[in-house]
Symmetry: C2
Subunit: 234 residues, 2 copies
Amino acid sequence: MTNPKPYNPNDYDRPSVTVDVVLFTILDGTLQVLLIKRKLDPFAGQWAFPGGFVRITESLDDAAYRELQEETGVAREAVYLEQLYTFGDPDRDPRMRIITVAYFALVGADKIPQLRSGDDAADARWFSAYNPPPLAFDHSEILAYAITRLRYKLEYSAVGFQLLPETFTLRELQQAYEIVLDEKLDKRNFRNKLRKADVVEPTPHFRDSGGRPARLYRFKADAVAEVKTRRLFP
Amino acid sequence: MTNPKPYNPNDYDRPSVTVDVVLFTILDGTLQVLLIKRKLDPFAGQWAFPGGFVRITESLDDAAYRELQEETGVAREAVYLEQLYTFGDPDRDPRMRIITVAYFALVGADKIPQLRSGDDAADARWFSAYNPPPLAFDHSEILAYAITRLRYKLEYSAVGFQLLPETFTLRELQQAYEIVLDEKLDKRNFRNKLRKADVVEPTPHFRDSGGRPARLYRFKADAVAEVKTRRLFP
DNA sequence: TACTGATAGTGTGACAATAACACTATTCCA
DNA sequence: TGGAATAGTGTTATTGTCACACTATCAGTA
C-alpha cells in the first residue's frame, strides 16, 4: 500500500477473493450450521459453506448478504452477520490462490421455513455444528473458529437472542445458552442475572409445554447488551 | 465457493489484495504508531501504514511479516502480530478495487533502534496514535479499529507486555496500561492483581529512577495470561 | 552525616458480584 | 382428585473489586 515500490498491482498475479458464511441456528435442541452440497470438483459431493466470489463493485458485507440470500433464501433483515476472519493460506484451494473472507451469521429457526434438518434431497441442509460431515477446503478450520467466536460473543453480548425465534420461553433461552456453551446453567441464577441485565420483556402469551405453560418473552429492542469484561489488571 | 454456478473466477474482475500493518509501541510516554510517507499518488505526501500486495505464494501472515520487515526493519521474532479485520469497501482506493487485510502489531520500544520519534527526514516515523497526521485511504478508520482492539485485548489478555522492553519496572508497566486505556489506575490494586495473575517474575536488577531504585521484572514465559470474562448470563 | 526530595513498595476493610441451593405454583391427564 | 410435568421464585456464603495512606530506600546536598 506504500512506497517505494511503484504501485502497480498487475506486477503480481492476483489472488481471487471469496466470502463464505457460517450460518448458525438452533433447531431440534442442537446447534446447527447450514451447508451446501458441492456439485463440482474439487470436493464434489462434499459439503461447504454458502459463499462465492466478491463482485468488483460490492462491499464484503454486501457480498456475504448476497450469497446468503442467493444460496439459502435467508433475507438480509433476518440475520445477524459479522466478519469473522480472513483465511488465505496459499494452498487452501487446490486449483488456485483464493483468499476467503469468512463471515459468522446467526438466524432464528423461525426465519428459515424452506429448509428442514434431515431433508437429504436438498442442496442446502442443516447439520449439527459439533458433528458436521466432512467439509470441503479448510472449512473445518473455519467452522471451529466460528464456534469459538460464537461462544465468546455469547458471554459478553446479547447476540444469543438471534438464534431464537422472535418470542421464546426463558427455558428455551437457557437451553440455547447451554447448547452453545456446552455446559449446564443454574435456572435461578440465569433468571436473576437476566432480570438484572434487563434485556427481555414479557409478552402476554404463553407456550404449552406439557406442564404449566411458560410465558413467552421477547428481546428488548432498546437493550444495551454488552457487559464489562473482567480485567486482568484493574 | 460453492454451486451451482460454474466455478471460474475469471468470469469476474478480480480485486487486488493487500495487507496493512498497524504497528504500535510505547515511546516517550505515549502510544505511538508507525507510519510511512507515501511518495506516489494517490495521497502522495500523506502517511500510511506499512503494507503492500500479497504475493501469490505467501500466506497473509507471511505477507504482513514481510512488509513489516521490508519497510520498517522490524524482525518477525520481535513483534506480536495478529489479524485485525479486512476492509473492502469498493471505493476505499480511488483507482481500483483493493481489499486490504489489516494487521495489528505490537513491538517493544527497545526493538526498533533505527527509528526515532521526531526524525522528520525519514520515510518511516512514529506518531502519536491518538493524534496522527492525516492518513491516506481509509487508514484513519483502520487505526481507530486497531486502538479499540488494543484496549480490548489489554483487558483480558497479557499482550500489553509486548509493548514494553524485555525487562521493565512495575511502574512502567502500569504507565503503559494507563497510556493505552487512557485512565488512571491504582498502584496497590494494580500490583495486587498482577501478583495474583502470576504473569511476571522479578529479575535481580534494578532501574535507577531518581528515588529508590525500582526492581526490574520480566514477563513469565509460561504464563497463561487470559482471564475469564464476566458473563452476561451465568 | 543527617536531612530532603523523589520514587518504590506494601495490606486491609467495605462493598458488589457470583455461585450454590430447594421449594411452591400451574396446567394436563388419567 | 391425585400425580406427572414443567414454570417460577430468594437467600446465603464466598469471592472479587475498589478505595485508601503509610513506610522504605536511594541520591544529592547542606
